[in-house]
Symmetry: C2
């Protein structure tokens, strides 16, 4: 009987891993598809231009040169993406044959980008202090010889874009060189183009969303947003933990860590900080920036080229952004900093996680839940008695408007209800306010989404007060 159970479990695990490989292949395909999808847009814009009557076209004679500049920017972004992918070490055997039949409910998850369990995405041994969770962590600069060591010259003059106009159209990630002289080393096998899958538009958007997130977390341009969102959280942590010691730093969990900047800042403040992130899109990128950055400003990307809308000028759209704004390995982290890939509910509902954290920080995270009540229940469980929960964010429930044939569960509570549920799970309000902020916004755009984010500090009651 026990043997049968083990066989069942094994089969289940193999199935889940196969799903994860499939989902990871899809994400890698989406990244690899970046130049092609971006080029498609430029071609569409060119086709529109050709449809104009001659007397209108004559007024827009500068547009062909703008399109060539856009192509150059796409090549630069693609180069960054490809270098990032090359540094990624899949935590799974990507060469395995994935043969999943329909009756195994693959469809339920084929669109997701999930981890079948929490994953070690680390180049070095994990230094996590939390126990029981495999995590990837901030490494010292890798000693591997790569072209990353050759820092491109700063690029910020339109003239320099112009210089590239006469280059052949480089719309493949596999270009072995590009016009600023950077040289790529050879890619791993799982990046072989023959393994590429069809990439739906929604995945194209996800890659562009990551590029905007890089600005938010790792560029000078993102400083304003970080001051709006991260600074109040960091100030609150400082206030709440005034006597931190490096020997025994307080522990802080950051679910929905995205590209890792907030978790890093918390670490630098003197906490044993762990970021948790569900999305492989995010983890591939945060791992690259945290573990493989050789110097601040190592990369130049062009985050705003994908839309012509709401631009005051073409130069705004074409402006370069240097990343990262800091060298993460020199930022002064506290021991125990780690990034943990996996679903928050699966990883942190594990009994080993109960009562181990001094603080939980959620920033633009709560509304990623299928079931926000479950999130709150787990946040309460993983906190020590008397531990604090700092939250900042709106309630734009990610699964609220999913019209998939099979319903995505989404429990879309009002802010009032969310707070009521928190009280039920043993929290006491310490502070509450509203913070006006943007999220991955183009600061020069004529349209900007504004959030009136709920910001609170709650404390988990000690047993004595329960």
């Amino acid at each position: 009987m026990s043997e049968i159970e083990t066989a069942d479990e094994l089969q289940r695990r193999e199935f889940e891993e196969a799903l994860e490989v499939k989902s990871l292949r899809r994400i890698i395909s989406a990244y690899l598809n970046y130049p092609e999808a971006a080029e498609e847009d430029v071609k569409r814009w060119e086709r529109s231009l050709t449809k104009l009557p001659p007397h209108h076209k004559a007024l827009l004679s500068h547009l062909p040169s703008k399109f060539q500049k856009l192509r150059w920017c796409i090549t630069e972004n693609s180069y960054f993406i490809f270098e990032m992918l090359k540094m990624f070490e899949p935590p799974l055997d990507m060469s395995q044959d994935v043969d999943i039949r329909e009756n195994q409910h693959l469809d339920d998850v084929s669109g997701s980008h999930h981890f079948s369990r929490s994953r070690n995405l680390c180049l070095c041994e994990s230094t996590s202090t939390s126990g029981g969770v495999d995590c990837h962590c901030l490494a010292e600069p890798s000693s591997k010889e790569t072209c990353n060591g050759k820092y491109p010259a700063p690029f910020n003059k339109e003239q320099e874009v112009d210089d590239c106009k006469s280059l052949p159209n480089q719309d493949t990630l596999y270009a072995s060189s590009c016009c600023n002289g950077k040289v790529s080393s050879s890619p791993p096998e799982w990046l072989d183009p023959s393994l590429q899958l069809h990439v739906p538009l929604v995945d194209v958007d996800k890659v562009r969303c990551i590029i905007r997130n890089i600005v938010r977390d790792w560029a000078n341009e993102g400083q304003k947003e970080r001051d709006q969102c991260y600074r109040p959280i960091l100030e609150e942590l400082e206030r709440l933990f005034p006597n931190r010691s490096n020997e025994n730093p307080p522990t802080c969990l950051v679910p929905g860590a995205g590209l890792g900047r907030l978790a890093l800042e918390i670490s630098c403040l003197g906490f044993a900080s762990q970021g948790n992130e569900f999305s492989y899109y995010m983890m591939i990128c945060s791992s690259f920036i945290l573990n493989h950055t050789q110097a601040a400003g190592e990369w130049t990307i062009f985050p705003w080229i994908h839309s012509n809308c709401n631009s005051v000028s073409d130069n705004d759209q074409l402006r370069p952004v240097s990343v990262p704004d800091i060298h993460p390995a020199s930022a002064g982290i506290t021991e125990g900093f780690s990034m943990c890939g996996g679903d928050f509910v699966e990883v942190y509902s594990d009994p080993s996680q109960a009562g181990v954290w001094d603080a939980v920080v959620t920033c633009f995270f709560l509304d990623t839940a299928h079931n926000i009540v479950e999130y709150i229940e787990i946040i309460s469980k993983v906190l020590k008695d008397g531990g604090v929960w700092i939250n900042l964010g709106p309630l734009l429930y990610h699964f609220a408007d999913m019209y998939s044939p099979e319903d995505e569960m989404s429990i879309d509570l009002s802010l009032e209800d969310v707070k009521r549920v928190a009280l039920h799970y043993g929290f006491i309000f310490e502070k509450e306010s509203t913070i006006e902020t943007t999220y991955t916004t183009n600061l020069r755009s004529m349209m900007q989404n504004r959030y009136y984010a709920a910001f609170w500090t709650m404390r988990k009651k000690t047993k004595a007060t329960l």
Copy 2:
């Protein structure tokens, strides 16, 4: 030869009319589908709730009653929509058989909501002063006996919603009565449910967008947005035309007039004002409010019920809004006020329109163009020498991200380029600034789109200065 041409022209016109009937049927279907689509959402939310484990469900015991309140609000909104549709007089023979073959390129336009030519949507004779354009106009209150004369009591207490909880689920527009005692008269034949078409999600969104536009244009809640967008325009018109006479009022064209409030306000300021609007969704609603309103606050709608996201409280989501905030027929319009249904390019590129307008006002309009250069060219043409163009809006090009199999043309210029094109067409800048504003925003939402709209006054050079 001439006879053959006439036959060709006739065939072409019949084809275009058939397209328009088809597109109008689709729009009416979308309106009729409103209660069904809204009910589908509530059912989805209910299904999510049933999936919760019992100890979570127990914390959300108020949600079933919220869902019943939502259903009551849907019924009220549906009642408003159905009364609106009943008052609509289609400018076409809706009973005609529409048989359009694929090779006639129906697909090119089947998703649009276009007029085959400018349309008289009027209950009375047009009083347009501009000549050559059939328009619908503001009528005195209709003498027809309808249930509209029975004003529902103001509704704004949650308790009153509660009173309806035990009502049977009224999810059809054809209910002959609803809980506040309003009685519908019988609907015209073209509203027969058997003529209803399949309604794609994008059309469901358009109906909800109209409901938000009603708040913007015709509710007290919209006053803040109108103060941001319309007031600067009205003040500018007052400044530019200080000596207006009622005998010979200056003429003002308002392309993209939406639900007509700005065009009405301009009329009340002492201009012979004409709104132009392409969308039947908009025209059906503006015609109802302008021509059939019997008193301010005649209707109560619930504009914010369609999303649970970013709500501070359920009461915010369920709050009623009285419309319209004014009685249009008593607003003090100037003779010559009219609303013209049709495509701006088709209607106003007609030679009869050249040099007839003292002012053109475009508010959130320029970016609706397939070809913004053409818009600017026509605005210049229809203005008298020395006439003024006031513009306010962002550049969120409507056709920019259409990934239809057959390209939608979209010329997405930066603001700099738009201004350069305007100079080419004989405009001189008089004033320019940026105005921060929202558009159909829920003022109590935790997420609000913010525009940094370009606001300018340009003057068309007189022949002497050209």
